[in-house]
């Protein structure tokens, strides 16, 4: 395993002022390191700081205190080297699938032939061949998420942040998408930080699971998952890990 640290969060805290004048701590003293090409899954109770944390690492929100570096550089604003896949997809509805996927390199002035060749490669990889000229409103939820993944991959970021990308999908589609994402990641290794509140999803995908506490969020425990890929969610080893972690998981909140 390559041990070069790509994402580094040091003592991140985030406090929101509330209406009655008191402060509400969402994240407290959160530290994590993600190595190159490692797939790390953050799992924790719903509604507590996970999206905020992703936004801070993506440079979309500022931490109250603490430092985030990606590839050795301090994160202060959104940067194409930090790619994000959102739960609500955030596709541009006026652009076609191709328009969405080539958006990043196009904005950065890459030539049409070169960017579209790469966009096509990732459209094919996520299984959307033939849908290049469709608008997002014509696609199902799962397909929209595929576009979101292809869009981020085409922009060739150093790291991928996925914020509960399959949270809105039905159970069947969710399984399918987890399998596809894992397959894509094995073909195109990237440094990934994936947020979820679904333990099964976490164990299926992760090299390492970081368990978060209830509000204010901080690291509770880490688990290295060294099951061979692709994983079988019904195998005895899988279920054993699942049982072990779930004892430690406080999902009620």
């Amino acid at each position: 395993m390559n041990n070069e640290v790509v994402i580094k969060c040091e003592n991140i805290s985030k406090t929101f002022p509330t209406a009655d004048g008191t402060a509400f701590d969402v994240i407290a003293d959160f530290s994590i390191e993600v190595n190159k090409n490692e797939f790390v899954v953050l799992i924790g109770p719903g509604q507590c700081g996970k999206t905020t944390l992703i936004n801070i690492i993506a440079g979309l929100e500022e931490a109250t205190s603490g430092i985030v570096t990606v590839g050795g550089e301090l994160v202060t604003e959104p940067d194409p080297k930090i790619g994000v896949v959102y739960q609500e997809t955030n596709l541009f509805p006026w652009l076609t699938v191709m328009g969405n996927v080539e958006f990043g390199p196009k904005a950065q002035g890459e030539s049409k032939a070169s960017r579209q060749e790469r966009a096509q490669k990732y459209i094919d990889l996520v299984g959307l061949t033939g849908f290049e000229n469709q608008h997002p409103n014509k696609l199902s939820g799962g397909m929209q998420q595929r576009v979101g993944i292809a869009r981020v991959y085409t922009n060739e970021p150093l790291v991928l942040l996925l914020d509960e990308p399959f949270g809105h999908l039905d159970a069947q589609t969710r399984y399918l998408m987890e399998e596809e994402l894992e397959k894509i990641w094995r073909q195109e290794r990237r440094t990934v930080l994936f947020v979820t509140n679904n333990l099964e999803e976490a164990i299926f995908l992760a090299d390492r699971i970081v368990l978060m506490t209830n509000c204010p969020s901080t690291v509770k425990q880490e688990y290295i998952i060294d099951l061979p890929r692709p994983r079988d969610i019904t195998s005895r080893e899988f279920l054993k890990i699942r049982e072990e972690i779930s004892k430690n998981l406080d999902l009620t909140s």
Binding site: E77, G83, Y86, F92, P93, F103, F131, K138, S140
Partner: protein, 278 residues
Amino acid sequence: MATSNNIKKKKTKPAIISEDQITKKQSTLYAFISFAVVVVLWQLAVLFLPNFGNIFPGPYDVVALMIKIVKEPVGRLTLFAHLGWTLKRIFIGYIIGAVIGVITGLAMGTSKLANAIISPVFEILRPIPAIAWVPMAILWFGLGEASKYFIIGFSTFVICALNSIAGARATSEKLKGAARMLGASERQLFSKIILPSSVPQIFAGLQISLSASCSTILAAEMVRSEEGAGWLILRGMNTGNMTLVLVGLIVISVTGLILATVMRAIERKAISWSFRGK
């Protein structure tokens, strides 16, 4: 790929047809029926209500007059020439007002600085009805066409600006964030996110202001003119010819219908991705 094919099949078949959905054929039929009922009731009222015909000429008289003035001029011009003048005036005034309105609105909705500078003036101008500008327009632009374009353009300007402001301000922060994440610059944020996402709202403004500009044509043609639908109405009023007034009304209505249809077609092309484009 097998999975995407399956999904595609499912998508092309609408799962549930809602009850109030009607086909295009039905829609045309209903439109025809409702139109016919109005005309028949109108004609019946003229035939059977005493004196009604004197204050409200019947459809037969109106159509007869229209057919007559297709060949014989009223004033200087025949019916279609009047229609053409009205169409041209609304079109030019509307385009000028719309372009300035959309640009002003987008600037105000996007830039706090532009908003701080423009909005005091805009808020003062905004409540003024277009017709109130008639004396000023004559003073500034004379009695010719320019003053008419100004009056029509003004009402268009206000509505288009208001809608463009709303459109630009309603741009999703999340989409802006996504664009920045993908490497878009501040300028690209405007051209690639704010502008396209405002388009549905801009078209809403263009449609509403089209009606408004049709309604100001009367004011515009009160500024000395010898042609157009507004003039037909004024002429009818001055000579006590109510049939001619109704012909003028119909000409305005047809003008509005032509322009709205054209605008709707452009809109459908431009924003097929949006709910308004359907």
